[in-house]
């Protein structure tokens, strides 16, 4: 086994071994101390094991791992966020009796989150995708209240629905492949010849679209992101949601153009991009605002993949991964900023607020930030027609939403937990949520540059061309103007409940209750003696006739 393969295995095996340790109650108590180290092998893999592969023989374990460029970008950046958020989680868990339980959900989600970036066969990918999706439920409902329970229910319902779509898609993929191969590369390469090609692509878009929170499947995002504790929502919104992104990268057939599904994805993506902004500005809770920003940003990424799908352009895999990598750091970071703001209070807010302003506006494309580079990386893909213009306008929307977020951030109340007297020095109490935030903010500015120059092969000159600068400045100006309008007339906006269209599902509830009550009545009826006896007779006659008919 080469060093690269060993690293690939370790990036999953190490957190798994920690999880095994959690079986012992004594060890479980100490687990929070190790949380920041759990993703270290994954980070090392991303840095040093590019192109490595690992395969176990077919029986009894099917496990094939591979690291390609988009996978490596996402794996490395996600691991970085998991490390920093792990430090924040330690602070959050200090002195809590249920820290061990939190750590178990955390590590399970972590294994899945790292695993989807390197899994190379269908069953392993499905397993790891299920882990990152379902284990995050434990994080969402960790603070047990009626509202987190509701968030957890909505989250799990949509996660399970997504899994069902994906299972069907994967079965179609493998059945259409003649030699029964289960390797992702083989089955996707064969997709063009599949008799169920369109159905498969549709199921893939549905399955991963739910994970990415595309409208109308975004309803879980504002609920879950508001419910989960800060360190948990940082990794969920930053890293875990990228399981959907890598899914589209791995499974959409970018080799062959399919304009119908491509256009559909573009439409859904752009709609999500603007819809997220429109609802986001009506929200007051900064966590909810960021959640709607995620809906919007995932919409942009979906638009990029849609353009790639309709033109058959493999380049979007790398560009999309880069855009997503920037989002990992910024979104994860901004959630940590909320925690940091809550710990320092409004008087000493500026060390939190200033970096937050820089990276938040990066989402809108602030020049010289990673966000500007991310926009640049997908600019050619979006093109210079209608989609390109709408893409630029969505940047104006993001600017507006981020300015709104910064306003809400200043109003975050100080967490009572932080004021209470403790044996530790006040400075370390303040530092514990602030330090990880500053670290991730720094990474959010530096890492995109490193990736842009090394992996994407861009140059500083390209990024600083006057045209490039202007094309990122004008949407920001529009966004700024819109924000001042929002400041002025914002109170006239309607109060949209968190999870917006979820209220319409309230109308479905009685219908589904009636439906299941009907099943119960049917069951009662069928289980009566005379009815069961009659069924017995009818079935006997039916089988007799059926056998006769096929003589």
């Amino acid at each position: 086994m080469t060093g690269g393969s060993l690293l690939l295995v370790l990036s999953l095996a190490f957190p798994l071994v920690l999880l095994l340790g959690a079986l012992s109650r004594d060890l479980r108590q100490h687990l929070p101390r190790i949380l920041p180290y759990a993703p270290v092998p994954a980070l090392a893999t991303a840095l040093f094991a590019s192109g490595a592969t690992f395969a176990l023989p077919d029986w009894p374990l099917r496990l094939t791992l591979e690291l390609d460029a988009p996978g490596a970008i996402l794996l490395g950046v996600a691991a970085l966020l998991w490390i920093v958020a792990g430090v924040a989680a330690q602070g959050y868990l200090r002195g809590r009796s249920d820290a061990g339980r939190f750590s178990v959900w955390w590590l399970t989600t972590l294994v899945g989150s790292m695993g989807v970036f390197i899994a190379a066969d269908l069953p392993s990918f499905y397993l790891l995708f299920s882990m990152v999706s379902l284990a995050a439920y434990g994080l969402v409902v960790f603070d047990d209240t009626p509202s987190t329970r509701r968030a957890g229910r909505v989250y799990v319902a949509l996660a399970v629905l997504g899994e069902a779509f994906l299972l069907l898609a994967f079965v179609l993929l493998s059945t259409a492949t003649a030699d029964n191969s289960l390797m992702i590369r083989d089955v996707v390469g064969n997709l063009a010849q599949s008799p169920w090609r369109d159905l498969t692509i549709g199921l893939i878009i549905l399955g991963f679209g739910i994970k990415m929170g595309l409208v109308p499947f975004h309803v879980w995002m504002p609920l879950a992101y508001t419910a989960a504790p800060i360190p948990a929502v940082a990794v969920m919104s930053g890293a875990a949601v990228k399981a959907g992104v890598i899914g589209m990268i791995r499974f959409l057939p970018f080799d062959s153009a399919s304009s119908g599904w491509g256009t559909a994805l573009v439409v859904v993506g752009l709609f999500s991009a603007f819809y997220g902004v429109a609802i986001g500005i009506t929200q007051k809770n900064p966590k909810t605002v960021l959640a709607y920003s995620s809906v919007s940003q995932m919409g942009v990424i979906a638009t990029v993949f849609g353009m790639g799908l309709s033109s058959g352009d493999r380049g979007v895999m790398l560009g999309g991964a880069f855009y997503a990598a920037h989002h990992i750091l910024v979104k994860g970071g901004l959630f940590l900023a909320i925690g940091a703001a809550a710990s320092v209070g409004s008087r000493r807010l500026w060390p939190v607020l200033l970096p937050a302003a820089i990276i938040a506006l990066g989402i809108g494309g602030l020049p010289l930030t990673g966000g500007a580079l991310a926009k640049l990386a997908v600019k050619d893909t979006l093109g210079y027609g209608l989609v390109g213009t709408l893409g630029a306008l969505s940047a104006a929307g993001s600017t507006l939403l981020m300015l709104h977020f910064l306003t809400c951030l200043q109003a975050v109340p100080i967490e009572p937990k932080m004021v209470r007297p403790s044996s530790r020095s006040a400075l370390s109490m303040v530092l514990s949520p602030v330090a990880p935030w500053l670290a991730i903010a720094l990474a959010a500015i530096l890492v995109p540059w490193v990736l842009y120059l090394s992996v994407l092969g861009g140059s500083v000159a390209d990024a600083l061309k006057p045209y490039a600068l202007w094309s990122s400045i004008w949407p920001m100006l529009i966004g700024g103007a819109l924000w001042s309008a929002l400041q002025r007339w914002g109170n006239r906006l309607p109060l949209v409940p968190r999870g917006d269209i979820l209220v319409f599902f309230g109308a479905v509830k009685p219908a589904s209750a009636r439906c299941s009550a009907a099943f119960e009545q049917a069951d009662d009826y069928l289980r009566r003696w005379p009815v069961a006896g009659l069924s017995l007779l009818i079935l006997a006659v039916a089988f007799g006739i059926a056998t006769f008919a096929l003589r």
């Binding site: 009894p60 299972l167 299941s516 119960e520 069951d523 003696w529 079935l539 006997a540 006769f548």
Partner: protein, 509 residues
């Protein structure tokens, strides 16, 4: 068919005595318990169980390594005069599953049915252990029997062993549940026996191997098979003939529920397989579709009803109805669109995998539910908060078993669902895909209903009614892990299941 092939198929093979042992050992155990009394019943079972496991392993190993079925001719008289016991690949697998679940149940039930005081003989003790072993022997007889009347006897023994297990506690409601079970099972038996009589009258033999060579497509066999199928369906509690199952399985003590749900209903299912794939000649597309549709109805009705139950054991019982439904999808999918041999098809493997993983997962879940009941003093789902604290391993076992029912990887349930879906796609029978998917979503719903409250730690913590030893919780977990282990089998047809079946196939016109 030539005389020599029949002779080859129906001659005692080396190791054939294992088949006799597999049936006789548990029955000798039953007799020993009756003779020695309830005080020593548990000890007898503890001796019989490991021996039974060894015999099952030996049968499986022998069939697997030789690639040939094991045969034993009772008394040296060949059919049609004498009786034959025969273990092909699928019988060997069924015997192994039974042995594993039985051993786990014996360990789980240790000390559960002791008398009120030391030295005082408990009636329940003797009844439970003797019936448990009787059910084991009867199941092995069902899996090994090669003669339709012999199978009838085994089936009756199975019913009479299983019914009293339901009403061990003697409460009025469990008595009425047991009575329901008994009456409906007897109705099933009568129909089966009627079919057997018709076949004997028409062909003069009841041996499955011999019958396969002589049956023609004619009214007598249609009627006979229809009657037998319906009788067996009633015993399997397939929708819409499931009236007896929920109360019987939910009312029995946990150890008994585990056996009833995991194994007993599979006995009659196994005979339906034998009947349609080994005895019936020619094309069976339409009846297979009917069986499939009944299965689909079971999946939907059982799952929705499981979602609506307020009590944990009833939820599990309705889930059994749904999971039995999946087994019947095997028929339309294995018959298929003319693959050379249905036994080689992916649906055949999927069905058996579903059977095995459901057996392990469901036994583990009933055991876990029983322990939750012991610890909390109730099994109301909305008040399960804190169960994860008082019986953590049992709750974990329930969750693992539940993941298999939902079809999440890695688990036998996932592999079974994957292959069932693959077969449906491959056969172009799209309607099953919708049912399988809906069933999976509903299963996720009812498992989630149970798991999510157990994660919560309510204040004040629930009062502990009884301490459940870790060893018993470990038994349930071990069974659930068996269901997980099945997820590591290759996603393709198992050659093991075809052993001894192509020979029968060769006789078909």
């Amino acid at each position: 068919m030539t005389g020599e092939t029949t002779a080859a198929l129906l001659a005692t093979t080396s190791g054939g005595y294992l088949l006799v042992l597999a049936i006789m050992l548990p029955l000798i155990g039953t007799i020993a318990i009756v003779l020695l009394g309830g005080q020593r019943a548990e000890r007898v079972a503890l001796v019989v169980a490991p021996l039974g496991l060894v015999i099952a392993a030996a049968i499986l190993a022998s069939v697997w390594s030789s690639g040939q079925p094991l045969v034993y001719i009772v008394g040296g008289w060949r059919p049609p005069l004498g009786l034959a016991l025969r273990s092909d690949g699928i019988s060997a697998v069924m015997i192994a599953i039974t042995a594993i679940v039985m051993c786990a149940t014996v360990l789980f039930a240790r000390g559960q049915f002791r008398g009120p005081a030391p030295g005082v003989e408990g009636r329940a003790q003797m009844v439970f252990w003797s019936l448990l072993l009787a059910v084991w022997g009867a199941l092995n007889a069902v899996f090994l029997g090669d003669d339709l009347f012999n199978l009838y006897v085994a089936l009756e023994l199975l019913t009479f062993g299983a019914v009293p297990l339901v009403c061990l506690d003697g409460r009025a409601e469990t008595l009425s549940a047991a009575l329901r079970y008994l009456l409906f099972a007897l109705m099933g038996s009568v129909l089966y026996l009627l079919g057997v009589a018709l076949i004997y009258g028409a062909y003069g033999t009841l041996d499955i191997v011999l019958l396969a060579g002589v049956v023609r497509s004619e009214p007598v066999i249609w009627v006979a098979v229809a009657l037998m199928t319906v009788g067996l369906i009633a015993k399997t509690a397939l929708f819409p003939l499931h009236l007896w199952l929920p109360n019987a399985h939910a009312g029995a003590p946990a150890a008994a529920s585990a056996i009833l749900s995991a194994l007993v209903v599979k006995g009659s299912f196994f005979l339906i397989l034998r009947l349609w794939f080994d005895v019936m000649p020619g094309q069976i597309h339409l009846p297979a579709q009917i069986l499939g549709f009944l299965g689909a109805g079971a999946i939907l009705l059982g799952s929705v009803l499981a979602l609506r139950q307020a009590r944990l054991k009833l939820l599990i019982a309705y889930s059994t109805i749904a999971q039995i439904g999946y087994l019947f999808l095997l028929f339309p999918l294995a018959v298929g669109s003319g693959i050379a041999s249905p036994f080689a098809s992916i649906a055949w493997t999927a069905g058996l995998l579903q059977l095995a993983s459901h057996a392990f997962a469901k036994a583990a879940m009933f055991m876990a539910a029983g322990m939750i009941y012991e610890a909390l003093g109730h099994d109301r789902i909305d008040r399960l908060g804190g169960a994860g604290r008082v019986v953590p391993i049992a709750v974990f076992a329930f969750a693992i078993g539940g993941l298999s029912l939902m079809g999440l990887p890695p688990s036998g349930g996932f592999s079974a669902k994957w292959m069932l879906l693959q077969a449906s796609v491959g056969e172009g029978q799209w309607w099953w895909i919708i049912v399988i998917t809906l069933g999976g979503l509903l299963a996720a719903g009812y498992i989630f209903r149970v798991i999510s409250p157990t994660l919560i730690q309510p204040f004040p913590a629930p009062e502990l009614k009884a301490v459940v030893p870790v060893s018993r919780q470990g038994v349930a977990l071990a069974l659930a892990l068996f269901a997980v282990l099945l997820g590591f089998v290759p996603l393709e047809p198992w050659p093991l299941l075809q052993i001894g079946r192509t020979a029968v196939e060769a006789h078909l016109p």
